[in-house]
């Protein structure tokens, strides 16, 4: 992977999306987007959605924003570390993102501005994102990754 395609979110030909895929015991997520930056943004939305599905949003609570900066040795580790940062924040601060306002990405550093309401409870289902079988790879005109979470 080269680190030159650092970009923010944009309207693309490959709409970002995610889906759950089969795994005997854990939770496996497939992510697709036009750029690695969009993929990181979609990963945040997907995990935020899973965490919110588990515990719900706090009723009538205001949306708050926060900026998350994560650094890692390469793009794969960056994605795992980003997701683990979100798991940590969700468990200790009862917060998860529902909206990604902006992304700045290189292969070893990502800065995201995220927004979302607080969670209603403390999620405990997802223990961690893992490196198992993970590889950010080009797929058609976009990028793809599969992440397994220990649950």
């Amino acid at each position: 992977m080269d680190g030159s395609d650092a970009v923010g979110p944009r309207v693309t030909g490959v709409p970002p999306r995610h889906e759950l895929i089969a795994h005997t015991a854990e939770l496996a997520l497939r992510l697709r987007a036009e750029t690695p930056a969009d993929l990181c943004a979609e990963a945040c939305r997907a995990l935020g959605s899973l965490l919110r599905e588990e515990v719900g949003s706090a009723p009538a609570a205001p949306v708050s924003t926060r900026t998350l900066t994560v650094e890692a040795v390469d793009a794969d580790a960056l994605l795992v570390d980003l997701l683990n940062e979100l798991i940590y924040v969700a468990e200790t601060e009862r917060w998860a993102p529902s909206v990604v306002d902006s992304v700045e990405w290189t292969a070893t550093r990502v800065v995201l501005r995220l927004a979302g309401p607080p969670l209603r409870g403390t999620p405990s289902r997802i223990k961690s994102a893992t490196h198992h079988g993970l590889a950010l790879r080009r797929a058609g005109r976009g990028w793809e990754a599969e992440v397994i979470f220990d649950v």
Binding site: A25, T92, T130, H131, H132
Partner: protein
Amino acid sequence: MTTARRTYPFARLDDQVVEIPATAREDMRVSARVFADDRLWDQIRRDRTVDQLVNVATLPGVEAPALAMPDAHEGYGFPVGGVAAFRATDGVISPGGVGYDINCGVRLLASRRPMADVRPHVGALMHELGRRVPSGTGQGGRLHLDGAALDRVLAEGSRALLERGLATTDDLAHTEAGGGLPGANPDAVSDRAKHRGHDQLGTLGSGNHFVEVQEVAEILDDRAADAMELRQGDCVVLVHTGSRGLGHQVCTDYVRAMDAVMRREAIHLPDRELACAPFRSPEGQRYFAAMCAAANFAFANRQAITHAVRASFRVVLGERVALPLVYDVAHNMAKLETHGGRELLVHRKGATRAFGPSHPETPSRYRAIGQPVLIPGSMGTASYVLVGTDAALVRSFGSCCHGAGRAMSRHAARTAQSGAEVRRALEAQGITVTGAGNRELAEEAPHAYKDVERVVNVVHDAGLGRKVARLVPVGVLKG
């Protein structure tokens, strides 16, 4: 996952063991063996369990063979149900080989009271248990620990709860490693991990964790059952949980930290989740100290829940129920053990230690029969109590299976039967379920698991454990 599953040559060694030779893939250092009869072997080959086991067989310093138990299934890095021993001198330690829920484990409490006395009160009992044992997405636990108190739990495990009145010396004597691993160092545990764990002692968590009130349905070994004070028809309690967010964060921290070590040591892995370090390296030693500390937190967590269970029984049934601890065993751990005269670091991920009568670590109470081995089934099927054997020390580095083992993804389980249907089916069996939403119930439904009877028969026939008692659920508090 889109990664293609590879097929490997194998040979059936006997009715319970299949071997994949060390020549099956060019990077294997040792052979791999799967304990399974034909039907379980067919199930195990459907996902990536064998790929993952073969990956384990490539790790530096691994001793032959890498093993999978009959409840094995696809995990991440190691398969769940995997056992691998590494030479302490030149082998590695792998956080991914232990897993995120460090010392997830099970303990069994005997009530010495007939279920007939308890059954009329099961509804009230489950309500009280749900009130005293936070579960699922629950809030922090009953015990909020400040820095010094948490460090003490990390250093001492269950022993730290003695002076709080939450444990007894008898409890410690009947917990693996006395409820505290001596190699623990709280300083090796990050502030983040401590922050996640500071209010989680005494909580179940989610997924397949539970407190179950069960009945001893059948005694299969009178002598061993006597030693454990288990009688047919008695009420017993099984507790399954681990080190909660603290352990998860320890694993997350050290998988990340191993990246740099592997580059320095030129360790090349077929799967990055197998991240490891030479056991004797500073990083290996530091992870071992952190893992032992997280394991101690898990022992103490199950002990704190035990106190809550005893209190629940007292409230509902009166003072006469003592609930002594039969035994507490770990499922996810790396331990330094001596096998064949050599010091090995035995990784058990979703596997149980099963030491026989002759092993010095078998508690004195069980020296004539072997260490109790606890095998939970799914919430609608049986659980088993076994004892470890001396043969297991030779065949499986003193290891046994840890449960029925998942056979179906969570999504497939939800599709097959709704949570409401699962709840109705369990209630029709006379099983009271509390604490879980319909989604969790559907994901943990009995049909999502392998046949526990078949799994237990394989380890019994293979000589890894000997069946003692069969337990059936009456009340389930789900995480």
